[in-house]
Symmetry: C2
Subunit: 346 residues, 2 copies
């Protein structure tokens, strides 16, 4: 029998809208999206000319790097795992701790972050972009009103516009809630019901499974672990990073985290803000225990994982961007100012 | 006046053929090219899951990384600069020292090279590919005869097939030698003549400007510097790397290098095997002095550089590949076995 019972039916199941929210001051245009895509793929936005946004958020794959933590300039690792950029446009706040209130605000961060793209300052970034002749016409076309269009705000607007195209509607789940009852397997439909009955939907609600759609920037935060004291606290180092507290310094924000999307979740292993849960099965077990104080059976885990797999979308086909190039000279510094060690020899 | 004089006319100027040579045992098929493209973009072919072929040979740009030396696993640098993969299919031997006699032979190198992609062994590579369910149907489609199609030879064949599509015919130069005399500017046409008169064509001949088209694997090698003793030897460290000699250990091969293509050369700064010449102007000056013992005037350099710019092709539009993904688990190792240092803190 395929179908869900009253309890899951009662749940408001929403399909993903065809468009994410678009801020009034950054309407989508073809020119901005194209420029944003080029910038997203341009490794010259990093100190050594080696890392682009796409290095850690591979949109040819799951929009992340499938690593516990990313590798930035100088082989540096941070403490957080890269979330997917697919459907990030549906989240009302960005980053695990929600510290950026829009994709525009987010996009300015990684470029100058020393353990991500490592550019010394926004000025260095702009200097580079201005030294690539092909960027000026692209920025002009994307920002026709701007007298000096190559600036950090426009860069962020263009990247955010591109990211707003990175959405995956029409998953089996979406087709199912729109009425196609054959879109889910029996196990997936059962898992959907278990997901609702266990209470996962208390937090992972709405079309994006990241909480109620709220005003841009507001974010939807929950304590993790809500039920501290389980074996998972140590097993997965759950208490090391204080989450939102580290941003606001408010005691009430200790271990508060933004509720993340579950769309394409089966493709974005490993899991949790620190990437310590290696499989989706583990992540579901951890959630049931730490967030709902429930011990779930292996069969329940399998069913919920099957359901979560139905949130995997068809990724839209994309054309490769072409990067504007410089003629006769590279703008990537020849001498590596930060290189402290001699090259490895093997 | 636009046109070339008898001396340049006498030179055999060849346009780029529409197809590079295809080896008899690896005919092009759509399925192989598509698989090869996916592999070329798959960072899971590297130890940390962070570097793909495209990281150092960015086909959204000039097919290289515009760096003096590339950055591999563990922030490692080698002593050689990454050549472009655009039109590499027209070279009869691969690498600066010609040590790989085909694109197939070349493709097996970087994946297990500890300072490039750093995979422990071919077995580790195959294990990874086999753990990604989506690869088996792709390899089966590309190699219908193979009973166990996921192997290093087929990987190399697929990547080589993709690389044979990375060609840029129909440059201004090509249109010019096919009869469209308006395809070059006056300065470019003058530079073409200077290029021939100086004797650059003694080495950079043929459709690919990398010497006579010879049998696959044969390579076309020349001494660099041919005229040692100029100030450039020290300025650009020209005598440090012994080139082909380091491969064959033959004294007669000391400082022999494969003659590289000049197609798209204006886009592949910095220059020379060690990337020490930062501008194309410098590279031309060095060549004239070290290869022909000629002191060229700044005007001659400008003209030759203008001509070389006419070798820049229109890059074919490409669709982004979609990487086959794993469900519920990442195949990139969670713990980094080679990480000796603690993460940088800033
Ligand atoms: C070196 C790796 C790396 C690079 C390069 C990088 N990111 Fe990220 N990204 C991360 C990590 C790690 C996080 C999570 C950080 C956190 O939450 O504290 C993140 C978070 C994000 C988020 C928030 C998603 C969410 O659901 O909260 C977006 C959007 C994003 N990055 C886009 C970009 C863009 C655009 C660029 C390029 C301008 C970029 N990233 C470059 C690693 C990287
Ligand atoms: C009380 C709120 C709450 C409840 C209930 C809850 N979650 Fe979560 N969930 C979160 C938060 C917050 C995170 C982010 C955890 C972190 O920072 O690592 C999260 C993370 C996850 C992740 C990992 C996301 C990623 O990208 O790594 C999965 C999978 C998940 N939840 C599934 C579930 C399932 C299944 C249930 C029910 C069994 C559930 N959640 C119940 C709040 C909740
Ligand atoms: C970490 C950087 C890096 C990665 C990753 C890398 N390469 Fe290279 N590649 C280089 C360098 C450096 C050279 C020149 C080495 C030499 O000549 O000794 C090179 C040479 C080549 C050449 C020879 C071109 C010519 O004109 O001689 C080809 C073709 C090539 N690489 C293709 C690939 C493929 C295919 C992959 C992935 C399987 C790959 N590369 C991965 C850096 C890299
Ligand atoms: C005697 C042979 C010979 C002659 C003559 C010669 N070249 Fe070269 N050229 C080479 C070799 C060999 C290399 C590779 C040098 C290296 O290993 O760094 C090279 C490299 C180059 C490069 C750099 C390629 C790159 O990708 O970095 C340029 C540009 C170039 N030549 C242009 C010229 C010009 C212009 C002339 C005439 C003024 C000329 N060459 C004359 C053999 C020659
Ligand atoms: Ca993840
Ligand atoms: Ca170069």
């Amino acid at each position: 029998m395929i179908g869900v019972t009253a309890s899951a039916e009662a749940q408001q199941w929403e399909p993903l809208p065809a468009q994410p929210p678009i801020p009034a001051d950054n309407p989508q245009t073809e020119q901005k999206v194209e420029l944003g895509k080029i910038l997203f793929f341009d490794p010259r936005l990093s100190e050594h000319g080696t890392l682009s946004c796409n290095s850690c958020h591979n949109v040819m794959g799951s929009g992340d790097d499938n690593r516990p933590n990313s590798i930035g300039m100088h082989d540096a690792r941070g403490g957080r795992s890269a979330p997917t950029v697919w459907n990030a446009a549906f989240q009302s706040a960005q980053f695990w701790d929600g510290r950026a209130d829009s994709l525009e605000a987010q996009a300015k961060g990684p470029i100058t972050n020393p353990i991500e793209m490592g550019m010394g300052s926004a000025e260095v970034v702009m200097e580079r972009l201005k030294s690539i002749p092909g960027y000026l016409p692209l920025f002009k076309a994307a920002f026709p009103g701007s007298p000096d269009p190559i600036n950090m705000d426009n860069l962020a607007k263009a990247i955010a516009s591109y990211e707003r195209t990175l959405i995956t509607p029409d998953t089996p789940y979406d087709r199912y809630v729109k009425g196609d009852k054959s879109a889910l397997t029996e196990q997936q439909a059962r898992g959907m019901q278990t997901f609702a009955e266990l209470g996962c939907t208390a937090c992972h609600s709405g079309a994006n499974f990241s909480g109620p759609s709220s005003q841009a920037g507001q974010g939807f935060f929950m304590k993790f672990p809500t039920f501290a004291g389980s074996k998972y606290d140590n097993q997965y180092d759950l208490l090391l990073d204080t989450g939102r507290h580290a941003v606001t310094k408010q005691e009430s924000d200790r271990h508060l985290w933004r509720v993340p999307t579950l769309r394409n979740i089966a493709l974005t292993a490993p899991y949790l803000h620190n990437g310590k849960a290696q499989t989706l099965d583990e992540a579901v077990l951890v959630m049931a225990k730490t967030q709902l104080n429930k011990d779930v059976t292996p069969a329940q885990v399998k069913d919920v994982v099957a359901f979560l797999t139905s949130l995997g979308g068809t990724f839209p086909a994309q054309a490769m961007p072409r990067l504007p190039l410089t003629v006769g000279v590279s703008i990537v510094p020849a001498v590596d100012p930060h290189l402290k060690t001699t090259p490895l020899s093997h």
